[in-house]
C-alpha cells in the first residue's frame, strides 16, 4: 500500500501516466469511430425529431463530463493543497482545460440542437444558463492559474477558488432554476419525442459516452505529463 505514495511525486507519476495513456487513447479512438458510425449511419431517422437528435449523442456526454471534471478538479486541487501534493495540484490544472473545452462543446452543440428544435440558438433556461456559468467558473480558474507565476502559489490559489466554486455550484444552479421559473413559467424541457428509445440510438449514446470518457482520461493524463515536464524544466533553470 505504501508503494502508491510514491506516485504523489510528479517524478514517479510521469512514467506511470505516460504508460497509461495508450490504454485509454486507443480504445477511445475505436469507440469514437464506432459511435460515429452507429450514431450517424445506423440509428434511424426519428419520426418526430428528424435527425437532429443525433446531436445529443455528443451534447449530453460533453455536458456531463464538463460538470464531473469540475468536481474532480476541485477534489484534486483540495488534496494538493491540504497534503502539499504537487502531483495532485498538477492533475487539477490538467483537468481544468479539458473540462472547459467539454463545457464549451456542450454549449455549442446545445445551441446547434436548440435552433432546429426550439427555433432559437440560445434559451435562457436553467440548464443552459448553469452550463454557461460553469464555463465562466472554469475560465476564472484557468485565468487565475495562468496569471500567477509561482507554480505553488498558483496551485494553492486555484484550490481555494475551486473549492469556493464547487460549493457555489449547487447554489448557482438553485438560483438559476428559481430565476427561470420566475421569468418563464413553463420551462422548456428536452422533448422526449419517442417514449421507447430504439436500440441503435441507445447503443450509439452508450458508445459515444464511453468514447468521450476514455478520451478525457487519455487527454488529461497526457497534459499532466506535459505539466510535469514543464515544471521540472522550470525548477531546473531556477
Amino acid at each position: 500500500m505504501s508503494n502508491w505514495y510514491k506516485y504523489a511525486s510528479p517524478v514517479h507519476l510521469h512514467p506511470l501516466a505516460s504508460r497509461l495513456i495508450p490504454w485509454f487513447a486507443i480504445p477511445a479512438a475505436i469507440l469514437l469511430i464506432a459511435g460515429l458510425y452507429v450514431g450517424l449511419v445506423l440509428a434511424p431517422t426519428d419520426f418526430q425529431q428528424g435527425d437532429v437528435y443525433r446531436v445529443l449523442f455528443i451534447h449530453v456526454p460533453a455536458a456531463w463530463i464538463g460538470m464531473f471534471l469540475y468536481i474532480l478538479m476541485a477534489v484534486y486541487a483540495a488534496i494538493g493543497w491540504a497534503y502539499n501534493a504537487r502531483a495532485s495540484s498538477m492533475m487539477a490544472s490538467s483537468l481544468s482545460i479539458t473540462g472547459a473545452l467539454f463545457t464549451f462543446l456542450a454549449l455549442l452543440t446545445g445551441a446547434l440542437w436548440g435552433k432546429p428544435t426550439w427555433g432559437t440558438w440560445w434559451a435562457w433556461d436553467a440548464r443552459t444558463t448553469s452550463t454557461l456559468i460553469l464555463l465562466f467558473l472554469y475560465i476564472g480558474f484557468i485565468a487565475l492559474q495562468s496569471a500567477i507565476d509561482d507554480p505553488r502559489r498558483a496551485d494553492r490559489a486555484g484550490a481555494v477558488l475551486a473549492l469556493v466554486g464547487v460549493i457555489n455550484v449547487p447554489i448557482i444552479y438553485f438560483s438559476v432554476q428559481w430565476w427561470n421559473t420566475l421569468h418563464q413559467g413553463a420551462t422548456i424541457r428536452i422533448a422526449s419525442g419517442t417514449t421507447t428509445i430504439a436500440t441503435p440510438m441507445l447503443v450509439a449514446w452508450l458508445i459515444m459516452s464511453a468514447a468521450c470518457w476514455l478520451y478525457s482520461v487519455a487527454v488529461v493524463l497526457s497534459r499532466l505529463c506535459c505539466i510535469i515536464e514543464d515544471r521540472e524544466q522550470l525548477e531546473a533553470t531556477q
Partner: protein
Amino acid sequence: MSHGFYVWAAYGAALLLMGGEVLVLIRRRRKGRP
C-alpha cells in the same frame, strides 16, 4: 436528411475541438522530448 447541417456542424465542432486538443498535446510532448 432533415436538419442535416446542424448534425454535421455539431460533430464537426466536436472533432475540431477534440482533435485540436490532441494535436496541441502531441506537439507539446514532442517539444518536451528533444
